[in-house]
Assembly symmetry: C2
Homo-oligomer: 324 residues x 2
């Protein structure tokens, strides 16, 4: 299959990054990072989550964060929630671009740890989410399968679980008269490999051919770029990523926040551009935002271009020399 | 194309890693690392280089290093050289598994910096190398094209340069009655991308169909794993790599030895195993060697499994739970 001509990145650094850190960062710094990201051409930024402030105190001030944000037209500023209460908080918060989402777990053990219920219960709860969305005039935009490739608490996860989840989401949407628009397969704990990516994307697409399939990849074990390439080769054109490689799942490499998190937006934008795939993102501006993220976090982050830079300056020097 | 069933890694961490560090590490530590690597199933370890002690003082004691080494049968302990003098030093050093190599530059500017001569002069010198090898009864085993994808001092490098170098090496070998066995394409400064890898491997293989094509990849800009995947998809089954991601080219990210170096052996072995590709390497033993490398260098290295571990412990726990 040919590589897609254009790829969309959904930036999750502000949410993934700051929620995994042991301390809470100043609101002004987080606002500054989101605003810098919005200047890069990224069109979708997940700003914060509305989850239990007891479980994730770092995200307790999501309302204030949205209130403080200067929003740029054309950019979606979204938020994450894991239950109806979180959704209602998001809905009640001015400035949140509420995008209705469904969430399924491919691992029961991970559902219990991350959501406090079984995978089956979570699937059942999605009916309630659907009803709530319909009540507020919202259509589902995405469904996510968490731990779609494997789970630290359950081992390898068969593709059939994601396929079943995708079918369930599709059925819920069809009952409302539309198909599920986007299916995000999440490698939450870094278990994916390129062969598994191709297999799972193929299986899910076969099950729900009308949905756009996206990938939420983590670079936990160094395969993030290869897994993304495998996705691209399957025609996937939607990727979640984090500026500077911020974030990660607290269960991926417990106790080590310096472990690699999500795939790094600027490194992956670079990969796309080098292969002739458009992203709509200004790579050098994004690199500036990555440097800002690193200065806010206050330690070395995992992005590669942060250290080595892109190739632009070398090509510019070359072009200059050729003119002379 | 199908992925290869088996892949060979040539470990270059001991040479790449210690030569880029500003200080010289104790001989005993370097010996310990090489000996640990030899216990992992890796069959080829590049131990040191015989280059100018003025330019690379870190490698000034290569003779002593080989003398101190307890060698394991079945493992090749090789060395690098960049001129005839270096070759003769290697040849005179007991314990070096001398593997005759040719070296070509795809970038003239880089040849001048790295070898003190033009790319053309370097190509011409290969005749002298050939004569010297023949004189000592050695057949060429590999030829390497340095800066095959691009160069910080010259910009993008057209595939035709590598093709010309491959043809030249082939002609030199044919004149001695054999074909060049292995052609290594080196992404010395981190300019490769998956599309470029496929294009270049295809072009070189077309030019010299009898040679085994290998890749020497750097992870400078985070595309190492994706570039290796692209190589695997072209059937490439020979990769240079460095334990813990040690090393890198001093010209890749000048002044920053913490920038990513070569592709990381244990991460890439992990990728192969996860995709069902055999490597002959014991991943957990290799991870131990990576931890040793990190403790010797004395700072955080770039390998991902160093932080997150492999998936073995999770699968073992799962298997245990299933038995209970």
């Amino acid at each position: 299959m040919e590589l897609p001509a254009e790829v969309e990145f959904r930036e999750e650094g502000p949410r993934e990054g700051f929620q995994i850190e042991p301390r809470q960062y100043p609101l002004a710094d987080r606002v500054r990072l989101v605003e810098a990201l919005a200047e890069t051409g990224l069109r979708h930024i997940q700003v914060a989550s509305f989850v239990s402030p007891k479980a994730v105190p770092q995200m307790a001030d999501s309302e204030q964060l949205f209130a403080a944000l200067n929003k740029r037209p054309g950019v979606t500023y979204s938020a994450l929630w894991l239950n109806e209460k979180g959704f209602l908080r998001a809905l009640a918060t001015p400035g949140v671009d509420v995008r209705a989402r469904l969430a399924f777990y491919a691992s029961d053990a991970f559902a219990r740890r991350n959501n406090g219920c079984s995978a089956e219960e979570m699937a059942a709860r999605q009916q309630g989410w659907m009803a709530l969305y319909a009540e507020h005039g919202l259509r589902v935009e995405t469904m996510t399968v968490l731990a779609a490739f494997g789970c630290n608490f359950e081992g390898d996860v068969p593709p059939a679980r994601s396929v079943a989840a995708a079918r369930a989401a599709e059925a819920l949407c069809r009952a409302q008269g539309y198909g599920v628009p986007k299916i995000l397969l999440a490698d939450t704990m870094g278990w994916a490999n390129p062969v598994a990516v191709k297999r799972l994307v193929g299986a899910v697409r076969e099950a729900v051919p009308t949905a756009r399939v996206g990938l939420h990849l983590h670079d936990t074990r160094g395969l993030g770029a290869a897994n993304m390439l495998a996705g691209l080769q399957m025609g996937v054109d939607l990727f979640d990523s984090s500026v500077a490689g911020l974030g990660g799942c607290p269960f991926s490499a417990p106790g080590d926040v310096t472990a690699a998190g999500n795939i790094c937006t600027e490194d992956m934008v670079f990969m796309c551009h080098e292969m002739g795939i458009a992203t709509g993102v200004d790579l050098e501006a994004l690199l500036e935002a990555a440097r800002l993220a690193e200065s806010i976090i206050g330690r070395r982050l995992n992005g590669h271009l942060l250290r080595a830079g892109s190739l632009a300056r070398f090509r510019a020097a070359r072009a200059l020399a050729a003119q002379a």
